[in-house]
Symmetry: C2
Amino acid sequence: MEEVLPVFNSAVSIDCVLFGFDAGELKILLIERNEEPFKDWWALPGNLVGEDESVDQSASRILHELTGLSDIYMEQYYTFGEVGRHPQGRVISVAYYAMLRLGGDKALKPLTSYAKKAQWINVKELPKLGFDHQHIFDKGLEKIKRRIKHLPIAFELLPEKFTLTQVQNVYELILGKKLDKRNFRKKMLSFGVLKELDEKQKGVSFRAATLYKFDRRKYAKLFGKEISF
Amino acid sequence: MEEVLPVFNSAVSIDCVLFGFDAGELKILLIERNEEPFKDWWALPGNLVGEDESVDQSASRILHELTGLSDIYMEQYYTFGEVGRHPQGRVISVAYYAMLRLGGDKALKPLTSYAKKAQWINVKELPKLGFDHQHIFDKGLEKIKRRIKHLPIAFELLPEKFTLTQVQNVYELILGKKLDKRNFRKKMLSFGVLKELDEKQKGVSFRAATLYKFDRRKYAKLFGKEISF
DNA sequence: ATTACTTAGTGTAAAAAATACACACTATAT
DNA sequence: ATATAGTGTGTATTTTTTACACTAAGTAAT
């Protein structure tokens, strides 16, 4: 067989860092591995790129196969290419992140035996991760910190209808610090991407907060602006 | 021979987008290719990652081999992984950028026959580039635009001693718009990363401007701040 | 030495944005 | 009726951004 140029010189994989928000906690999606190396360890959902797929397509497919999730918009943020990062050989990994609302609804179900299970885990209780996945996660968290300062993007983590306090909670969790309530609300509303609903929070044993929803049309115009709290 | 896991599934390459500033022009470093495909075309300096090198190391080596330049700090900014981007097979390319002062001093000399020559070319007169390199360049330019708004980083493009007007010229070229002189100076000096020298510009046939130099120590403290003009 | 030329260098007022800060309201549970 | 817990609101101060035009200094030509 004639050698094709250029010659393959690496395995290329995808790793996905998915952030979710639920019950006041910032969570991340992990799988429990069912294959060597790092069998039985927790790891980021990841696998090899397909030869006939773009890396973006691979990312979607791999996430789906390992967790059952589909139609998740993920964004590439960095490529990890240290020589020793995979114990069995050269693997260069392209990392993606996404932010995601957790309804408790969708069950996570790996479609391959490569993962035993997939689970949302509180970022404050991260287990030891296989490979260099702790590092990949750390970089992903840095990335979304910068990201939510630029764009009011945290709605991706919330249900369709949400309260301003919920939005503030997400910001505080991601940024790791408290924000002033009045200033936060003023600023958030000033973006003009939230629509106030004629509807109140339900099932709480205190004054119910007003619900809002996110206006994607107006949101699209916001690119390039910086937010600071 | 036993198959090693994971299996190589792609060629991985590096492409370098180097910006330089000289004689009032923003330039980019290109090579003229000496190999198929795109023989005799202009292209970004790029080649395959070595199997025993990190992608960062590969980037430095490849830049050196194709242009003779060394000790250039480059930053990774995106990985291009569309299926059809290389006509001869699957190649995923990790792109790096750098900003660089051009002294006219260092000659560019490819150390391999893979490039016929390397040359700094005005970004306003870009030739047609091979592969998807126009796209990679466009993304690189976007990246440095965002970058110089965040950090007063344009000094990398300037000689050790420079005038404020030179700094402003660089900003205007990269951002593609005129800036107000008084506001620019006020802002730039307010960062406190410039040291005014007891020295004036030489060899000009008009009032000589004060020279400044860049203070790396103070600069290191600036990360995270946003600049806007 | 006068003049013309070219770039350097400077300040202020107005508008906009960011920050700091505290209490009354309202729904529920008992 | 009362206790409780989170909701929702305004203003004054400071900081940052923007807009804007002339004089100063050095060189070159006559």
